[in-house]
């Protein structure tokens, strides 16, 4: 964040506050949906979609991944690949 002008930093702060609002709303939403007692598969889908949106907001804006350098994204892509591979490998094996 060093090397940014005061103007830019104030703009960042206003983005942080909007992301904060979105995260609060999504938290209330995911808890609210859980009280609807949806069928399990629908409940899992809704909860994971909301969690993924929340996590993306945190990663993109708080961790500044939006507009981050390629090498950082490459490191994360590698971790994501191994995570998904190891998660799905046992079920592939069972087929």
């Amino acid at each position: 964040m060093s090397g940014h002008t005061q103007e830019e930093i104030r703009h960042h702060v206003s983005i942080y506050l909007r992301v904060f609002g979105a995260l609060l709303i999504l938290t209330v939403l995911t808890v609210g949906v859980s009280y609807l007692h949806l069928p399990l598969h629908a409940a899992i889908a809704v909860a994971l979609i909301i969690a993924t949106v929340k996590a993306s907001l945190v990663a993109a804006f708080f961790m500044h991944l939006a507009g981050e350098k390629k090498i950082i994204l490459a490191v994360l892509l590698l971790a994501a690949f191994f995570f998904v591979f190891l998660l799905t490998y046992p079920s592939l094996h069972a087929l």
């Binding site: 964040m1 859980s34 409940a43």
Partner: protein
């Protein structure tokens, strides 16, 4: 004196980022694998158990966990505000926001210990069932990460902040690295909360 480790504050010409930042992200990638392994275990155990698996909302305290989710999200916001305050060269505000971040982390742990205490009172231990085994493992490991964050952030609030006068860029790099870690801890909880408590 020239520092022994190069490119701490200035981006490395090849990668375009500071070595400190690249190192922090490599560490976080390894953390993804650590929590990822346990998360995969959870998925496999749950799929294997079929309908015998309990719904978290039936046996865990959803309101307390919701409160903790809000506490941790707020602490992530105070952390980015601490970084922004440093970028605006306002050390006083930095201390305020960093102090709030640490305070919120303690609130999270106190709420969590109430939850644990309640479970132990009712003789629910990791050995009670597969659900409690993975519940205590995941939340326990996450709790240890919160404690680690408190240690680092407290260092950066008090003794570590002496670096601000000597080398503000390097100090800001340290706070940003601690921030990345802290947001990661928040991010893990964002997934743990619905998976363990709501489903």
């Amino acid at each position: 004196m020239e520092s022994l480790i190069k490119h701490i504050s200035k981006p490395h010409p090849v990668t375009g980022v500071t070595n400190a930042k690249l190192g922090t992200w490599c560490f976080l990638a390894s953390e993804i694998m650590l929590f990822g392994a346990l998360f995969s275990s959870y998925v496999l155990l749950r799929v294997g158990a079929g309908t015998a698996w309990p719904r978290g909302s039936d046996i865990l305290n959803v309101p307390l966990a919701t409160l903790n989710t809000l506490v941790l999200i707020t602490s992530s916001v105070t952390m980015v505000m601490a970084c922004a305050s440093l970028a605006l060269k306002n050390l006083g505000k930095y201390r305020l926001y960093m102090g709030a971040t640490i305070l919120l982390a303690f609130v999270f742990l106190v709420v969590k210990s109430f939850e644990y205490g309640h479970k132990f009172e009712h003789h629910h231990f990791p050995s009670t069932s597969t659900f409690y085994a993975i519940y205590f493992t995941l939340t326990g490991l996450h709790g240890l990460h919160v404690i680690g964050g408190i240690v680092v952030n407290t260092y950066l609030l008090f003794p570590g902040s002496a670096l601000w006068k000597k080398d503000p860029d390097q100090f800001m790099g340290r706070v940003e690295a601690a921030g990345l870690y802290w947001h990661f801890v928040d991010l893990v909880w964002i997934f743990l909360f619905p998976v363990l408590y709501l489903l």
